[in-house]
């Protein structure tokens, strides 16, 4: 493999993503786990940049590091003394089976197209600008229905969450 900026970036972001993932599953401390998760998701944002999708990278950072990380910490704080998990999670067999199944699905999903020769076309050098994305979102023939459905989904999520949270505190 030729050593250029993209290769270096790929290696660095892979270390971020995988290292962060290892951190999440090995730490016993929920807050440190959150930080590791953010490291991992930051690596994914880096992949988006390498794939010429800077808008998605910014969204990744904005939503995950800006909002999800904060929300997880707030949620952790609601529970009592779970920062230092004392006992190990004991149901090893079910979690082993589930993660193995997930890994196999991903492995086949990635390798089967390669060996069967049904490779998807590689992305063009410059995918689409944010302007095209915005125009497609409100185009009658484009994605206007999913666009509005996303809004309905967000509204439902917010109302549902407030309903549940209020119920517990009231």
């Amino acid at each position: 493999m030729e050593l250029n900026a993209i290769t270096i970036g790929f290696v660095v972001f892979t270390i971020f993503t995988l290292g962060g993932g290892i951190g999440v599953v090995t730490t016993r401390n929920l807050f440190q786990g959150t930080i590791w998760l953010m490291v991992s998701l930051f690596g994914v944002a880096g992949y988006f940049v390498l794939l010429s999708a800077p808008f998605l990278a910014a969204v990744q950072v904005l939503v995950y590091i800006g909002a999800i990380a904060i929300l997880i910490t707030f949620a952790v704080m609601l529970t009592r003394s779970v920062t230092r998990i004392k006992e190990r999670y004991i149901r090893i067999l079910p979690s082993f089976i589930v993660s193995l199944a997930l890994f196999l699905i991903l492995l086949f999903g990635v390798t089967v197209p390669i060996f069967s020769g049904h490779l998807p076309e590689s992305a063009p050098e410059y995918v689409a600008s944010t302007r095209d994305l915005g125009a497609a979102l409100v185009d009658e023939n484009g994605y206007v229905v999913p666009f509005l459905l996303a809004s309905v989904l967000l509204t439902a999520a917010m109302i549902g969450a407030i309903f549940i949270a209020r119920d517990e505190s009231a």
């Binding site: 969204v59 929300l71 949620a75 609601l78 915005g134 125009a135 979102l137 509005l148 967000l154 949270a165």
Partner: protein, 120 residues
């Protein structure tokens, strides 16, 4: 400039940015006095001894604000491309955007009526 070259600049910047504040801290580490003792490195709570764990249970209100913020944050993800392409749209573009924002304003209104926005 090529798109990836721009991001190489951001990448180098991101590596350099923590170095700038790290430099004075490292220099201070070389010069500063080191006389730690148990009292000095104990938790500072105005001279009173710390009782119990730092990890006390916090109120649910922080979580609710965080949640409403998350919903608005995701909304922004859709609204920024909409705003960028706005000048080229017809009136339909406005109507779609308006409906999108209006639905979420409903959720905010619901939160307001349920007193979820009050700091209690």
């Amino acid at each position: 400039m090529n798109v990836l070259n721009e991001w190489a600049f951001i990448g180098i910047f991101a590596v350099m940015a923590p170095v700038f504040p790290a430099l004075p801290i490292v220099i201070a580490w070389l010069f500063r006095p080191r006389k730690p003792n148990a009292l000095k490195s104990s938790t500072y709570e105005c001279g009173v001894e710390t009782i119990g764990d730092t990890w006390v249970q916090f109120r649910v209100q922080y979580y609710i604000y965080g949640l409403i913020f998350l919903v608005f944050d995701v909304e922004m993800v859709f609204l920024f491309p909409w705003a960028v392409a706005y000048n080229e749209m017809s009136l339909f573009g406005f109507v779609a955007g308006f409906l999108f924002i209006f639905l979420l304003t409903d959720a905010l209104f619901y939160a307001w009526k349920k007193n979820a926005l009050d700091w209690k």
